[in-house]
Each structure stands twice: as structure tokens, then as C-alpha cells.
């Protein structure tokens, strides 16, 4: 609500270290932010700002420190070092006042299973001191938004995973927050539910709500985020708009070649010189290039015969895998 | 959970398990679980009888014996001891047949994990009931041992109080498990306790003979399962059991247990096979 009025369109394109002007209006400012659990450093000194009206994404493999960062921003975990200001206040002292203006969608639904769908929304609104009548009004319209109106009187226990997720998001909106924090909002959802959710988030953004999203779905990040950071081992591996990142860390196109036998694939490694960068996977070769068709023509000209070949645009996933590696992290 | 459902027997001697009935594997799960927690559970099984006997039998007994000299021909400790044994069996049975059953269906979903193996619903039920019977044997055995230690056993007949106690427990656990399998949440369990277990504990002759109840209430007490369990255990421990009345007690308890088991077969199938 307030965010829309304070929106600064000029700051959108700025990366993680924007101008002094952007810092003034930023909803979240972190400088050298650190989170330690005993000996383990979950977040190892990161800097970023989130400006009003944007959708800011945190990408990273499991254990990269995304959730720890979210929890610090939502004043549910004290920072171990550095400074953090949220909505111009200090989470250490102003937790309740900050949280009054945040909406949080945690990684795991924390709905009240014993209560009905409607009661979950009303009760959550009451935690924000919203009068009962107003809470009822808001709950009704949010149920519409989340397409749960027919289930209003049902116990949460009986909802599907997708419905619970939608309810959690509706619940986070009941206080009409300036900043909506979503920690892996679509993990575990089926494609229909995921697209429905993206659609809802996009509409919220249009209404001026600032979004902060963590995800490991690159498609999600590309669709939703104006700016994003890729986090790995508690630090930022990269930051920028999705297009900037692709431009910086990948090529415009990728050629994927699959060969019949490992021997044929081994012979094909000489193709590396036709592209800017080559990646060899157990079952295929990836050639990163600005012009995929040209590279493919060269492959054929040299007499290689892959069993399958694919020219596609480079995606954020290519950037992500390049920066964080292909090994499993946990 | 995946680990736990691998019953210990399966790893040790696969050739033997083939010959064994399937429900033994389900029993194996509960034994396996108990092995991790037996220490705390055992200390409860030993200390609770001791504490109850000391407080009610000795503490309160001092007042009773001073005032009326004896209850039913014996000291208050001797009167209340076997009664407490039977009521302890009831409480173990009810607690094992409520929350753990609901947990195995809904919270931990142990039953579902078992049903994903060759086990059938009836094996799951039989295994769990067999486990409760084992638990009851353990708890009743300890209790009886303590009664003997207090010098309350009057004759060799007291040994039969062990199966009598187990039977009392089984008469409760089968019907309660049948009921628990129909529940969506644990609210009803507190009702079972407050309107079932507690009044039975208080009015079935554990603490005073039911002849002291108002006349109209005595037949009601007669109709309750705990009364039969208490009367049976008490007469066996004190050595004044008569065949005729004992058969009535046993028949009542067996009928209740068997009826409950039959009901549980239905409710388990209805709940677990969808």
C-alpha cells in the first residue's frame, strides 16, 4: 500500500550496489550480513538492496543460505554480523513493527491444521490487530484470489498441497504487506498449481507489492524476477537481471549433442573449438555459442552424426549450473 | 520409517521367516521400536506400581486399617494391591490402543508402510495386538512380582493373576483399538479417559468393595469389564478364587476381547483399505 506511493522506477535496473538515492528508498538494505550457527557460517557477508515495486530473487542450491537470509529479513533470526535494515528499521529492536508490514510465505506451510480455511485467515489477521469485521472482509476476498472460496469451511487438513500453498500465500497477504517474502513458494506443486501461483504473484507485483522470492526453479526466476542474485555457500556468486546474467555468464544459444556410444562422444570432443565454451556431460556435449545453427552446420560439415541434436536459447539454468556446479550439494 | 519396517527377523534368517506367519513381522516392528525406549518404559512399569502401592496401600491403608481394621477380610494393602494390578492393565491397554493406533494410521503412518509390504490388514492388526499382549505381560508380571515381594500372594493360585491381568488388558485394548481406527483426531480419546477409564478406576471395586455403592449402582458396576478383571485378579492373588465365579469373569473378559477384535478387523479394513 505505502510501497506503491514510494516506488522509484529509476532504481529497477541497478544491480546489488545501486546509487545512494536507491538506498534511501530501499525497503531492505544489507551490508556485510552474516549468519552463523555455532561453527557453521550459513551466510558469509552479503550486500544487497531491495527497492519498492520490484521482484527480487534469491537463487541457489539447497544449503546456500537463502532461507537463513529470508529469516533474518523477516526478523525471525538475529543476524550474527553486518547491518540489516528492513523498512528503515532495525530487526533487532523493531521486530514487531517491521513484521507488521511484512507478509511471509515460509518454505514449509505452517497453517493451523486444526482450524478451517477461513479461520486460518481470520486468526492470522487478528495477530496483526485487524478488527474482526475487517478480517472477515479481507479473508473473503483473499479466498477468492486463492480460488479457495468453496473450501472456506473445510479443515485445512483436507486440502491438497497446492491448495495449502495458495492458502499460505493468501494468509501472508491478509495484512496488506509492503513487502511479501516467499521462500520457495512453488516447491512440490504440480505444473498447473505453479502457473496459477505465478499468475497471482505477477498480479500482486502489478499492484505495487514488492516481492522477495527464493527458488531453485530457474523458469520461475526468469518469469518473475526483475533482479536476482545467485547464492552459493553463503555468498553471492552473481547478481543482475536475468538477461544480464545470461549475457554475462552464458552465450545466447546452446547446442546439445547426444552420441550413440561413449567412444563417438569422445571423438567429438574436438568440436570444442567451434564454440565459445564446451561442457561434457556423461550423456551429451553442450556447446555454448552465439549462433547455434552455424555451429550445428559445422558439426555436420565435419562429418559427425549425433543421434540427437538440439539448438536452444541459453537459460538461467545454464548460468546457475555454471556458477554453482553440477555436483549435488547435500 | 523405512528402516523400522524392516523387521529384525527378516535380516537374520530369511529362510525361517517364510515359515512364520506374516503378523510376526508386524510384531517385530513394535518390538524393534520398544528396544529403543524400553529403559524409560520399564522404569515406569516398576516405579508406578511401587508408588501406587506405597501411597494407597501403605499410606492410606494406615488410616483405613486403623478405622475399620480390614476390608473384605484382609488388610487394605492386600485389598487394593490386586485391584491396582487389574486397573494398571486396563490403563496400559487403553493407552497402547489409542494414541499409538492413531499415530500408526495418521501421524507416523506405520500401518501404511507395513501395508506396502506383503503384510495384510489382518497381519497389521494381529501384530499390534500381539505387541500389546506382550507389553501387558511385561507390565502385569512386574506388578505381580511386586505384590509377591510385599508378601500379598496367599497361594500358588496367585500365578494365574498374570494371565488374568493380561486378559483384563486385552478385553480393553481390542475394542478401544477398533474405535480408535475410526477416529479422525484424538479428541475422542480424552473422552474415553474421562468417561471410561477414570470412572471405572474409581467405581469398579479397586479402592472399595462395590457392595458399598448405592444399591442401584451395584448392577452397573457388575456390568463393567474392570470389575470382573479386579475381582478375578483379587481372588487369585488372595487365594480365595472359586471356579464358578472365575469362569463367569473369564468368559465376560474373553467375550469382550473377542468381540472387540472382530470389530477391529472391520474398522481396520475400512480405514486402511481404500
Amino acid at each position: 500500500m505505502v510501497a506503491a506511493a514510494r516506488g522509484t522506477p529509476g532504481a529497477v535496473a541497478s544491480a546489488a550496489a545501486p546509487s545512494a538515492g536507491a538506498q534511501d528508498t530501499a525497503l531492505v538494505v544489507a551490508r556485510g550480513l552474516v549468519k552463523r550457527f555455532g561453527q557453521f557460517t550459513a551466510v558469509g557477508g552479503i550486500d544487497f538492496e531491495i527497492v519498492p515495486g520490484e521482484c527480487f530473487g534469491f537463487l541457489g542450491p539447497n544449503g546456500a543460505g537463502k532461507t537463513s537470509t529470508m529469516r533474518m529479513i523477516s526478523c525471525m533470526s538475529p543476524a550474527s554480523g553486518g547491518t540489516l535494515r528492513v523498512l528503515g528499521m532495525d530487526p533487532a529492536t523493531d521486530g514487531p513493527r517491521i513484521r507488521a508490514r511484512l507478509g511471509l510465505v515460509p518454505q514449509e506451510d505452517s497453517l493451523d491444521l486444526e482450524l478451517t480455511v477461513l479461520d486460518n485467515l481470520i486468526l492470522y489477521a487478528r495477530y496483526f490487530d485487524i478488527p474482526k469485521a475487517e478480517a472477515r472482509r479481507r479473508a473473503a476476498s483473499l479466498l477468492e484470489l486463492a480460488q479457495l472460496s468453496e473450501r472456506a469451511r473445510d479443515k485445512v487438513e483436507s486440502l491438497s498441497g497446492g491448495m495449502k500453498r495458495r492458502l499460505t500465500i493468501a494468509r501472508a497477504l491478509v495484512s496488506q504487506p509492503d513487502l511479501l517474502i516467499l521462500d520457495e513458494p512453488t516447491t512440490g506443486l504440480d505444473p498447473q498449481a505453479r502457473h496459477l501461483l505465478w499468475d497471482r504473484l505477477y498480479r500482486l507485483k502489478q499492484e505495487g507489492v514488492t516481492l522477495l522470492v527464493t527458488t531453485h526453479y530457474m523458469e520461475e526466476a526468469e518469469q518473475l524476477c526483475d533482479r536476482l542474485v545467485i547464492m552459493d555457500h553463503g555468498r553471492f556468486a552473481a547478481h543482475g537481471t536475468p538477461l544480464e546474467l545470461i549475457g554475462r555468464y552464458s552465450t545466447r544459444e546452446v547446442v546439445e549433442l547426444r552420441f550413440a556410444t561413449p567412444r563417438e562422444q569422445a571423438d567429438a570432443l574436438a568440436l570444442g573449438e567451434t564454440a565459445q565454451r564446451m561442457e561434457v556431460l556423461p550423456d551429451r556435449i553442450l556447446l555454448y555459442t552465439a549462433d547455434g545453427d552455424a555451429v550445428l552446420a559445422e558439426v555436420h560439415r565435419r562429418g559427425y552424426a549425433p543421434v540427437s541434436e538440439l539448438v536452444r536459447r541459453s537459460t538461467l539454468e545454464d548460468v546457475f549450473l555454471r556458477l554453482t556446479g553440477r555436483r549435488l550439494v547435500d | 520409517m523405512a528402516l523400522a519396517t524392516r523387521a529384525p527377523s527378516a535380516t537374520r534368517a530369511p529362510s525361517v521367516t517364510r515359515a512364520r506367519p506374516l503378523w510376526v513381522r508386524s510384531l517385530g516392528y513394535w518390538v524393534f521400536q520398544y528396544k529403543r525406549t524400553w529403559r524409560s518404559s520399564l522404569s515406569t512399569s516398576v516405579l508406578e506400581p511401587l508408588v501406587y502401592l506405597a501411597a494407597m496401600g501403605i499410606g492410606l491403608g494406615a488410616l483405613v486399617d486403623h478405622h475399620v481394621h480390614h476390608v473384605g477380610g484382609v488388610s487394605y494393602l492386600a485389598f487394593v494391591g490386586p485391584g491396582l494390578l487389574a486397573s494398571a492393565a486396563m490403563q496400559v491397554a487403553v493407552s497402547e490402543a489409542t494414541y499409538p493406533v492413531m499415530g500408526a494410521i495418521k501421524w507416523v503412518k506405520t500401518y501404511l508402510a507395513m501395508l506396502a509390504t506383503p503384510l495384510r490388514v489382518v497381519d497389521v492388526l494381529r501384530g499390534h495386538m500381539a505387541w500389546i499382549a506382550l507389553r501387558l505381560t511385561l507390565a502385569t508380571g512386574i506388578f505381580l512380582g511386586i505384590l509377591v515381594g510385599f508378601g500379598l500372594a496367599r497361594s500358588w493360585e496367585a500365578a494365574f493373576a498374570l494371565p488374568a491381568g493380561v486378559l483384563t488388558g486385552l478385553a480393553f485394548c481390542a475394542p478401544v483399538a477398533a474405535f480408535a481406527a475410526t477416529r479422525e483426531n484424538d479428541v475422542a480419546f480424552s473422552v474415553i479417559y474421562r468417561f471410561g477409564v477414570v470412572p471405572l478406576f474409581l467405581f469398579s471395586g479397586v479402592f472399595f468393595p462395590i457392595t458399598m455403592l448405592p444399591g442401584w449402582l451395584q448392577p452397573v458396576a457388575w456390568a463393567t469389564p474392570l470389575f470382573h478383571g479386579v475381582a478375578l485378579c483379587r481372588s487369585l492373588v488372595l487365594g480365595d478364587a472359586t471356579l464358578g465365579i472365575s469362569v463367569v469373569h473369564v468368559a465376560y473378559l474373553v467375550a469382550l476381547g473377542a468381540g472387540g477384535y472382530a470389530a477391529a478387523r472391520v474398522t481396520y479394513r475400512r480405514r486402511l483399505v481404500q
Binding site: V2, L27, S74, M76, R85, L87, G88, M89, A92, T93, D94, P96, R97, R101, L102, L104, P106, E108, S110, L111, D112, E114, L115, D119, L123, R126, Y127, F128, D129, R171, S175 | S40, S41, T44, E48, V51, A54, A55, M56, G59, A62, L63, V64, H66, H67, V68, W107, V187, S190, V191, R194, F195, V198, P199, L202, F203, F207, F208, M212, L213
Partner: protein, 280 residues
């Protein structure tokens, strides 16, 4: 929200760091009321749970009145002789206040902490850990108040209340509930799994049986009397019995102080522990 004009918060950045205000007192804020509200919402759907609790004291008092009364006979308390049910009733009131408080503060709290993650949602709103603790305590006292009331009705109906001083037993029963609720919550924050509850029961059952609820302390040998006197339930039983019989002694002020201090310490410990558990 109402405490902060939304407009100035982005700029007024310096005041927060210089003036570190920790949420004052153990009472939490006005928002703690919403925690009570949550419980009302939950229990609205399982009212039978609450209502069934009213019957328990009736059963106990009835059983004692019908059976034990004639087995035990009248007892001497101080200078006077009272019927057994009159002796037991205030002790049972204290015990039932303890049991009710412990049930809520152990089983229910553990479920909410470890399985339902109820407080994770609550703490993402303006509510604080102090509010959670205060709210849960408020609910516990509300519930205990209802039970104590039903118990006292049963006492009056069965003729077990001796003097009009008995009315004072009501706030005293709440004090007992407060102390045990607080200690129960603090203990629960240390429990690892359901099986740890057996240990909790191992502490509660002997206390319930031995703390002079069912017979006077004089039954015990001297050393055991000293041990029993130290237990919080004994303190509660002695306080309520003295009040019910209208025989006041200075020691009773000590009992009340004991329970109050225990409750406050428990509350403070709960707050510290929950803060560490919920906001790591």
C-alpha cells in the same frame, strides 16, 4: 501497526539503534490476547474435550464420598476433626489444578512446538515470543479457572466445602495452575520426543500420590515428611486445605510465595528457551 505512523519508518533510522528496547516484563504485549483467541478458535471445534473435563472432579469426589469416606473415617486436622471427603476435597482441587495445567503446558505445547509449528506462523506476525508465552499462560489460566469453578461447584453440591473461606480457594487454585503451567512449559522446551514424557510422568505421579492429598503428612516417617514438604504440589495442597478449613497460618503465606516465585522463574525460563528454539 497502530503504534507506528507508517510514513516515517523508512527515514527514522537512528533512534532504533541507540535505544535498544527489549520487550518489557514477562507479560508480553496487548497482542498476547490473540494467542488466547487462537486457543478459543481451536477449542470451539473440540468443545467436548473441554466439557468432559468438568466431570472428572465429580467422579473423584463422589467415589471418595461413597466409598473411602466410611473406610477411612474422620481425620483430625489441627484442633478439629473433619470427615474424610472434607479433608480430601481441597487437596484434590490443588491436584486437579496441577494436572490440568500440566496437560496443556506439556503435551499440547510439545505438539505445537515440534509437529504443528504453530508458533512459526505466529512469530511471522507482530507477536513476539513474550506474547506467545503470555498468551499461552493466559489460556491455561482461563481453562484452569473453568475447571476450578466446576470443581468448587462439585464440592459445594456434595457438601465438601466447610466454610465460606472456601471461595478463596479459587484464586489459590489459579496460583497452583500458574506455577505448574510455567514449570511445565519450561520443562517441555527441553523434551526431545514423546518418550521423554514417561520421565515427566515419573515425576508427576509420585508427587500427586504423596503430597498429602489423600492423607495427612503425619502418616510418613520424619525424613519423608521433609521431602514431601519441598514439593510444589504439597505447598498447593497445604495452602488450599488451610483456606478451605478456615484455619489460617503464617506458613500459608510462604506456600503462596513459593508457588508465585516458581511460576515466575518458570515463565522467564520458558521465554528464554523458546526464544532460542523458535528464533535461532
Amino acid at each position: 501497526m497502530s503504534t507506528t505512523p507508517a510514513g516515517d519508518t523508512t527515514r527514522g533510522t537512528t533512534s532504533g539503534t541507540t535505544l535498544r528496547i527489549t520487550p518489557a516484563a514477562l507479560l508480553g504485549s496487548r497482542r498476547a490476547v490473540h494467542m488466547v483467541e487462537r486457543n478459543v478458535y481451536v477449542y470451539r471445534r473440540s468443545w467436548i474435550f473441554l466439557v468432559s473435563g468438568f466431570f472428572e472432579p465429580f467422579f473423584y469426589l463422589l467415589s471418595i464420598g461413597i466409598g473411602m469416606s466410611s473406610l477411612v473415617g474422620p481425620l483430625r486436622v489441627g484442633a478439629e476433626t473433619v470427615a474424610y471427603p472434607v479433608f480430601v476435597a481441597p487437596g484434590l482441587l490443588a491436584s486437579s489444578a496441577m494436572n490440568g495445567a500440566l496437560f496443556d503446558s506439556t503435551f499440547n505445547l510439545f505438539h505445537k512446538l515440534k509437529f504443528a509449528h504453530t508458533y512459526d506462523a505466529v512469530l511471522s506476525t507482530p507477536l513476539t515470543v513474550a506474547d506467545v508465552v503470555a498468551g499461552e499462560m493466559g489460556w491455561s489460566l482461563l481453562r484452569s479457572g473453568l475447571y476450578a469453578l466446576s470443581f468448587m461447584c462439585a464440592m459445594a453440591a456434595l457438601g465438601d466445602a466447610r466454610t465460606s473461606w472456601a471461595a478463596l480457594c479459587y484464586p489459590e487454585a489459579l496460583l497452583v495452575a500458574f506455577a505448574f503451567s510455567a514449570v511445565g512449559m519450561a520443562t517441555t522446551t527441553y523434551l526431545r520426543g514423546w518418550r521423554d514424557f514417561e520421565m515427566v510422568m515419573l515425576a508427576i505421579v509420585p508427587m500427586f500420590l504423596f503430597s498429602a492429598t489423600f492423607y495427612p503428612l503425619s502418616v510418613y516417617p520424619g525424613w519423608l515428611q521433609a521431602v514431601v514438604r519441598l514439593t510444589p504440589l504439597y505447598q498447593g495442597v497445604a495452602l488450599l486445605r488451610g483456606t478451605d478449613l478456615g484455619s489460617f497460618q503464617w506458613a500459608m503465606a510462604g506456600h503462596a510465595a513459593y508457588l508465585a516465585i516458581l511460576g515466575l522463574v518458570g515463565l522467564a525460563a520458558t521465554r528464554a528457551r523458546l526464544g532460542r528454539l523458535l528464533l535461532p
